[in-house]
């Protein structure tokens, strides 16, 4: 029996009375590479934000390896949507990646050579080392996404939450990113990805959660990624032709 990395019970989130997530129960086993899929407004990003305590749920609880998120922060890394920040902010690629070390540093302490070395290694991993001193607005969308990924890698977490890491990136970057995610899984990490491109789900992921305000289904891709669940989630007669 594998361990449960993330356990969610009765989670309900609402923006101004309208429920965005309704009574979600979800168990994410350790070591999976999981896609969260669902239509726009299904609450995919909200689910991640509620797990990470960015949004306050009106009911329900989340535990990370059996304890509350607040106690397990160091085990978790987050890659927000690329569009959530202002890329014209006056800072460099290396500086953004260094922010990944701020959590373990805590208040007031500044990054030292040790943190800088870790940040450079993360940049190397995502193939962005030559751009380390580049002002972040001068990076392409794909490069910015890699910087965000490097920032999460530097946290050296056990569980990674990523909000649409493939949005607006070219094919090369997409392949580079998915290879890194697969490597993370190989190293025993749990990776949870909000994903939009249904065609690539079977190729990229081994676990999937269908979400549309309520949880529709969750499990191994090979068992539950089928027309039935897709239709239930997207509301229209959905046909994906998956050639095995």
């Amino acid at each position: 029996m594998t361990k449960i990395a993330v356990q969610i019970d009765d989670l309900t989130v609402a923006y101004n009375y309208k429920p965005v997530l309704w009574d979600i129960d979800l168990e994410i086993p350790e070591g999976v590479l999981m896609a969260i899929v669902g239509p726009n407004g299904a609450g995919k990003s909200t689910l991640i934000k509620a797990i990470l305590g960015i949004l306050k749920p009106i009911a329900g609880s989340v535990s990370i390896y059996g304890k509350s998120y607040k106690k397990q922060r160091s085990l978790v890394a987050y890659v927000p949507q690329k569009g959530s920040v202002d890329w014209d902010f006056p800072t460099t690629a290396l500086d953004v990646v260094l922010m990944g070390t701020y959590g373990s540093l805590g208040w007031i302490k500044r990054p030292t050579q040790k943190e800088k070395k870790a940040a450079l290694e993360a940049l190397e991993k995502v193939g962005m080392l030559p751009f380390k001193n580049r002002q972040i607005s001068q990076l392409s969308g794909g490069q910015q996404q890699r910087i965000f990924l490097a920032r999460a890698l530097v946290q050296d977490a056990s569980i990674y939450f990523m909000d649409e890491p493939f949005q607006g990136v070219d094919a090369t970057t997409e392949i580079a990113i998915i290879n890194i995610l697969k490597e993370l899984r190989k190293a025993g990490k749990t990776v949870i990805v909000v994903h939009h491109d249904l065609q690539t789900v079977p190729e990229y992921f081994d676990w999937v959660t269908f979400l549309n305000v309520k949880k529709i289904a969750t499990g191994p891709v090979k068992d539950i990624f089928n027309d039935d669940n897709l239709t239930k989630t997207y509301g229209i007669n959905y046909k994906v032709s998956i050639q095995e």
Binding site: K49, G53, Y78, P90, T91, I108, P111
Partner: protein, 385 residues
């Protein structure tokens, strides 16, 4: 109403500098406006980067009723008491703005506008009420509307210096926390930082800096002190630390130059002149910054277009020359007329660069020209990959 009368009349720079060091009043005012520029420049950088440019305007207007109420309660006119009132009402205004944004559907510009006009209106009401009072002491409260640097005294400058020092200390201490809050608040939250605390810390200092400037620059113009140096500084650097430093520097110079101009000319009030000097910094930065400035952007654009035209012509020649075993084989210049974008100017430039030699009505590529043209091709091919 606000000229510094002792120095009316035009004097030359040397005399002025001597006066700054020898004259107590002028020295106090110059120091005061310089320090004010430093603290508003530093904090203004944060306001600008948080896209809260209008927050400063709302806070300074929200401070007005505090000044009036402090006067009504204490009857005193010393600046410290009044500024304490301004601080309290500025903070109340700020937290109401935050409250409106988080608790209602209203957008932040609506919240800012609402609080700004509400507090300012109430402040004006109180000011007119005070002016009607049969109390000889009330004259001069309206200096907080447009500022009156001439009334700065040594204790005011000390207060500014102390606040600036504390602000600098806090800034250095929590530099990392401020930076991550400004860039990515949600992420900072997931790392375990109490973003609310950092937020309140920054905002409180912004309120403090604004209140300090009310006496000098006034309610109406104060936000310019916050924004102008920061906006100018952003043009020159891509590093947060350098931006904050430059903004402080620009702010300080605005204060010093503004005071100097105001003191050496008749009938120019100091506050507006300081703001105008800051605006000159902004203008110069927008035009002349090497990376973001309009001028260099335009120059780069023109240069790139010229280079591109040159490259296109060279590439066209390369295609022709390629078909011959001898690359230096001469061709008629007329052929080039078939090529769109070819001008005599481009040909001349290519000759200048020693890529092409002309002989009568014919041209031929030099070895150098051939090589750079083929490199051109390799590069563009590489980019396509």
């Amino acid at each position: 109403m606000d000229e510094i009368p002792a120095f009316a009349g035009i004097m030359d720079l040397k005399d002025y500098i001597q006066l700054v060091f020898s004259d107590y009043t002028l020295r106090t005012i110059t120091l005061g406006t310089a320090i004010l520029g430093v603290v508003t420049g530093m904090l203004g950088s944060f306001a600008v980067l948080r896209k809260q440019s209008l927050l400063g305007d709302a806070i300074s207007h929200a401070a007005l009723p505090g000044i009036a109420i402090a006067f009504l309660i204490t009857g005193a006119k010393d600046s410290n008491t009044l500024l304490l009132g301004a601080l309290v009402s500025g903070l109340i205004g700020t937290f109401w703005i935050r409250g409106i944004i988080t608790k209602t559907h209203l957008k932040s510009d609506t919240a800012l506008g609402l609080i700004l006009s509400l507090f300012f209106g109430f402040g004006m009401l109180l000011l007119t009420f005070i002016q009607k009072q049969p109390n000889a002491n009330q004259a001069g409260l309206d200096k907080y509307l447009f500022g009156q640097a001439a009334t700065l005294i040594e204790s005011d400058v000390w207060l500014m210096a102390i606040v600036t020092g504390v602000c600098l200390f806090v800034l250095l201490l929590f530099w990392k926390e401020f930076k991550i809050l400004l860039f990515d608040k949600d992420y900072a939250k997931t790392l375990g930082f109490n973003t609310k605390t950092i937020d309140i810390l920054i905002t409180s200092f912004i309120v403090l800096a604004i209140v300090l400037g009310l006496q000098t620059v006034g309610v109406v113009l104060m936000s310019a002190m916050l924004l102008a140096p920061a906006a100018a500084a952003r043009q020159w650097t891509n590093s947060l630390a350098k931006m904050v430093f430059l903004a402080a520097l620009f702010g300080a110079f605005s204060g010093v130059f503004g005071t100097a101009i105001s003191a050496s000319q008749n009938n120019l009030s100091t506050g507006p002149v300081i703001v105008l000097v800051a605006a000159v910094f902004v203008f110069v930065s927008f035009v002349f910054s090497p990376t973001r400035g309009l001028l260099f952007k335009q120059i780069r654009f023109i240069k790139n277009r010229r280079d591109l035209e040159l490259h296109k012509t060279l590439a066209f020649m390369y295609h022709i020359a390629e078909t011959h075993e001898n690359i230096a084989h001469p061709h008629e210049i007329k052929i080039l007329n078939n090529f769109q974008g070819f001008t005599k100017g481009t040909l001349k430039k290519l000759v200048e660069k020693n890529y092409v030699t002309l002989k009568g009505t014919t041209w031929s590529l030099t070895a150098e020209g051939f090589e750079s043209a083929s490199n051109l091709y390799n590069q563009s091919n590489k980019k396509d990959e």
